[in-house]
């Protein structure tokens, strides 16, 4: 097996073929990003620290990135990362977002503005995302569709209801994201060898 990205391709094959994928969870403060991840991963969330990438001036603070991991099959680990809250929100997302399957944007319909930055970032970088409406602070605000329309969200973006405290809802959200990401990827570059992903595969 060839290890791309390394100068020494002859490490020898590993015992098992392992690979990993990641999903980014973004949204405003207190909308339930950590809860979302905590309800599906194995064990507790871990926190790693990173230097902010743009080192303007004194570096006095490390940025904390929360994440969790679960094994989807014996050789595939899925990581879920909380998109960190930098002072300028998207300043350091590239490391976290590069190579992600997609992103979940948690949106509190009472505070839609909090998640706008994230949505704009993912649209600019062509990262497939789903919008998960967090009904924690449910309020009979009728025109959810109107709010979303006013935010200019592309109609192909899936909108799901997701209370991040419940595992089955989180799982459904992630499935919706994976399906959307697959379609999105296929739409963008339908490779010659690729079959159409439209047929459901179970």
């Amino acid at each position: 097996m060839d290890y791309v990205g390394s100068r020494f391709p002859d490490y020898g094959p590993p015992g098992r073929d392992l690979t990993s994928a990641k999903v980014v969870v973004a949204g405003g403060f207190g909308v339930g990003k950590s809860t979302f991840i905590r309800s599906i991963v194995e064990g507790d969330l871990l926190t790693c620290a990173a230097l902010p990438p743009e080192r303007a001036g004194a570096v006095t603070k490390l940025v904390r990135i929360e994440f969790g991991r679960l094994w989807l099959d014996p050789g595939l680990a899925l990581h879920l990362f909380v998109a960190p809250q930098w002072q300028t929100p998207q300043a350091g997302w590239n490391d976290v977002v590069r190579g992600a399957v997609g992103a979940v944007v948690l949106l509190d319909i009472m505070r839609p503005a909090d998640s706008v930055d994230a949505i704009r970032y993912f649209e600019d970088h062509k990262i497939p995302y789903v919008i998960a409406l967090n009904n924690l602070h449910a309020h009979p605000r009728g025109d959810v569709a109107g709010v979303l329309h006013a935010m200019g969200i592309d109609p192909i973006v899936p909108i799901v209801n997701c209370d991040p405290r419940y595992r089955h809802l989180v799982r459904q959200t992630l499935i919706a994201l994976a399906e959307h990401a697959k379609l999105d990827r296929w739409r963008r570059e339908p490779g010659p060898g690729d079959t159409t992903p439209l047929a459901p595969v179970c």
């Binding site: 490390l62 899925l78 399957v101 499935i175």
Partner: protein, 190 residues
């Protein structure tokens, strides 16, 4: 001759640059290729007008070890930036391309030669008996992500840990359809 007050005064002089900003220090670490080099190369050319005294050997210490203490105080104790980058000799980049979710696992060779490695490498090898991601290693070792990448890169270059494939290994910025399919079916099975 009274070397003691002299040495004392000199040490105080050495502490004067400690007033520099923390950014200067960090730049010193990242642009230069390491504190080892600084230590070995810098002191000899420095022309010291005063005669040698027993405290000469300690003259460098405040600039390297003591300086970060004051600004680092508000940082959580687990992750003093400079102390962590000292593990890497000041290097901030690795030759091996590691993403934060890349899985690494220690191989047999690592377990055999674990005794000869430096302490941090040994800890990593211990952690990586089961496959772990770069982010996990950083979190469990309580070191910044960049330091974990450099240390794991060292181990990978020596062939002691296996670096597994990830979405961007093939070159693109996005996972391929096969991986997405695997994620999807894995999620459905949960």
């Amino acid at each position: 001759m009274t070397p003691a007050p002299d040495g004392h005064r000199r040490r105080r002089h050495a502490e004067a640059p400690a007033e520099q900003t923390f950014a200067d220090l960090m730049n010193g670490f990242s642009l230069d290729s390491g504190r080892r080099k600084v230590r070995r190369v810098a002191p000899p050319p420095r022309t010291n007008p005063r005669e040698e005294s027993p405290s000469v050997a300690h003259e460098d210490w405040p600039t390297i070890a003591d300086e970060p203490l004051a600004p680092a105080a508000p940082i959580p104790p687990a992750a003093s930036i400079v102390r962590a980058y000292a593990y890497t000799g000041g290097r901030t980049r690795s030759n091996v391309n590691l993403e934060i979710e890349t899985l690494v696992s220690a191989n047999d060779q690592a377990h055999q030669s674990a005794g000869m490695l430096q302490a941090e490498h040994q800890q990593i090898i211990e952690l990586c008996r089961a496959p772990r991601s770069v982010a996990e290693v950083a979190a469990l070792m309580r070191i910044p992500l960049g330091v974990a990448k450099v240390l794991l890169g060292d181990l990978a270059e020596r062939g002691l840990v296996d670096v597994h494939l990830t979405a961007t290994s093939a070159g693109g910025d996005m996972p391929d359809l096969g991986l997405m399919e695997r994620v999807l079916s894995g999620l459905r099975r949960l």
